[in-house]
């Protein structure tokens, strides 16, 4: 029994979500191999070989993998899939895009967003936006899985010494092409990997106030910035800051919810945070029902005061 983890990387380094996925793979039992498919990704493959608990890295390099196109990535996974009992992807935008393609080509069901491994064929996963937890058993020979990273501790990024096998990659599908991307450059920590998140809601009132009120606090705490769906829909914050069922699932050490009422779909994305702070002037806001520390106050006064006190 051997598991294959599909690494998420930027060719130079391994993204943190990969480490949580390695932990989930190890819990499935047996050896853990990691596939690094990219363009000029030798450094990322080297980094993957250092991850504790990984026994082999498969490095595939070439133009078809430059932008992680699902057609090419899935074909590459299929090319090596027969050696594996479990194939695991982080439940990121990229993993969610590729994994079902792999499952369908193998004619197996996929288990999405697992938060716990109960046995080699039995897993826990949230359904209905986290309002229920299902324990499910796969009846297929190969388990194709996406891993909710907040459910698993990251494997140590160093300490391992896996072999790196270089394989020839599959050809380009010729059916899809990458045109371009607009990825926001930021010095802040990545939302899903941040230890502290400062998140704002519709009560911020405008994009300008969202930035002017929350940025000083995030700077002071070294935090990532997040937003509720309401704030994103209102245009106060970009969509990739969205925390919730339809956005990102986060579980930082500290989550500071500012002017967020606490809709079910938002709570689904952050309720596993270790400590939750809510600042809201509405005493009845549902967010206070999950907050460890609630401060009933006008955010426009309380947040600057908090920045000054830190």
């Amino acid at each position: 029994m051997t598991s294959l983890v599909i690494a998420e990387h930027d060719n130079a380094s391994i993204r943190p979500a990969t480490l949580n996925t390695v932990t989930a793979a190890a819990q499935c039992g047996g050896d853990v191999h990691v596939l690094v498919a990219g363009l000029n990704a030798a450094a990322a493959a080297q980094a993957a070989s250092q991850i504790a608990g990984v026994s082999k890295v498969i490095h595939v390099d070439g133009e078809p993998f430059a932008h992680g196109l699902a057609e090419n990535m899935a074909a590459q996974v299929i090319a090596i899939a027969s050696s594996y009992s479990h194939i695991l992807f982080p439940a990121t935008a990229s993993g969610k895009n590729i994994a079902p393609r792999v499952a369908a080509l193998l004619d197996v069901g996929q288990i999405s967003d697992i938060t716990k491994v109960d046995a080699a064929d039995t897993f826990e996963r949230p359904i209905y936006a986290g309002n229920a937890i299902a324990i499910v058993q796969s009846l297929d020979a190969t388990k194709v899985i996406t891993v909710r990273t907040t459910g698993f501790d990251p494997a140590a990024a160093t300490g391992g010494s896996a072999s790196v096998d270089v394989l020839a990659g599959v050809a380009d599908s010729g059916k899809s092409a990458f045109i371009g991307s607009e990825i926001a450059k930021s010095d802040r920590p990545e939302l899903t990997a941040a230890k502290i998140i400062v998140s704002g809601g519709r009560a911020l009132g405008s994009a300008e106030q969202f930035t002017s009120v929350l940025t000083p606090l995030a700077d002071k705490l070294g935090a990532a910035l997040g937003a509720s769906r309401a704030a994103v829909d209102a245009g106060y914050a970009p969509n990739d800051w969205q925390v919730g069922q339809t956005g990102k699932i986060v579980a930082p050490q500290l989550y500071v919810a500012i002017g967020i009422s606490g809709a079910i779909q938002h709570l689904a994305g952050m309720k596993d945070s270790k400590v939750i702070v809510a600042i809201n002037k509405d005493a009845e806001a549902p967010i206070f029902g999950v907050a460890d520390y609630g401060l009933e106050a006008d955010l426009f006064e309380a947040v600057p005061e908090l920045v000054a006190a830190l």
Partner: protein, 249 residues
């Protein structure tokens, strides 16, 4: 050019579901059911493509119980031209739905299938990608912008950290994200008109598809409750708690 749009009947997004006491699932008896919100966006996008002249016919499809007809009528009220129900009372998992849809694609020969990125009941986020794989078609998931011209679909996608644009050679699969469009309000005249549009009923066996589940649900339970903490009086008290009690800053 035809577009196929699969739609799912799910518990309305405003309903807070309750787990059944015997742990076999969630209680959906006497609960309001609606079209999956992402699928509504998919139908809206297909109808807009038709309005722009890029598409000639929009076919809505639903797989499930007889009541899915209501969901299909809603799709036709938004603007779909006709509908197909694949009727079964069996539990349908994403792979089975993808196989049913593949059989319909083989029959109807659309150039584009637009699906919601995920259903808000099982939160799987699989069917579109699986259908793309079974057909050998390219895919663009989590779309926030779609343009169709000259045998290609140019799609802007929501990815971690921002946006990405892909060009797909048709035929292709697109799955919708929230910001793609805002579905129109369904008017009474359009609801009346939808009642007269054709709705075909087929069975999985007619399509030669085995829909047996591949994943068995052993138990469904309530998530662990997070208990409310305390309210603090002021900012100074908050800072003190975070530093000395929670020790997170």
């Amino acid at each position: 050019m035809k577009v196929l749009v699969p739609v799912k009947r799910v518990v309305d997004y405003n309903v807070k579901v309750r787990v059944k006491s015997d742990g076999t699932g969630v209680d959906i008896a006497n609960v309001k059911m609606s079209m999956n919100p992402f699928d509504e966006i998919a139908i809206e996008e297909a109808v807009r493509l038709k309005d722009k002249g890029a598409v000639t016919e929009v076919i809505a499809v639903s797989c499930g119980v007889l009541q899915c007809q209501e969901t299909l009528r809603t799709a036709m009220a938004i603007g779909a031209d006709r509908a197909i129900l694949v009727e079964t009372a069996e539990e349908l998992q994403p792979l089975a739905v993808a196989k049913l849809l593949k059989a319909l694609v083989d029959k109807e020969q659309p150039q584009l299938v637009i699906l919601g990125k995920q259903a808000i009941d099982d939160d799987c986020n699989q069917t579109g990608q699986m259908l793309a794989a079974l057909l050998g078609w390219p895919q663009a998931t989590f779309a926030s912008k779609v343009e169709v011209a000259d045998g290609k679909a140019v799609v802007t996608r929501e990815v971690d950290g921002g946006l990405e644009t892909l060009a797909l050679t048709l035929p292709a699969i697109i799955t919708t994200d929230l910001r793609l469009n805002e579905p129109r309000y369904v008017t009474l005249p359009n609801i009346m008109k939808a009642k007269k549009k054709p709705l075909e009923n087929v069975k999985p066996a007619d399509l030669g598809v085995d829909v047996a589940p591949r994943i068995k649900t052993l138990k469904v339970s309530e998530p662990p409750k997070r208990s409310a903490g305390i309210k603090v009086a002021d900012v100074a008290a908050l800072v003190d708690k975070l530093k000395n009690e929670a020790k997170v800053i």
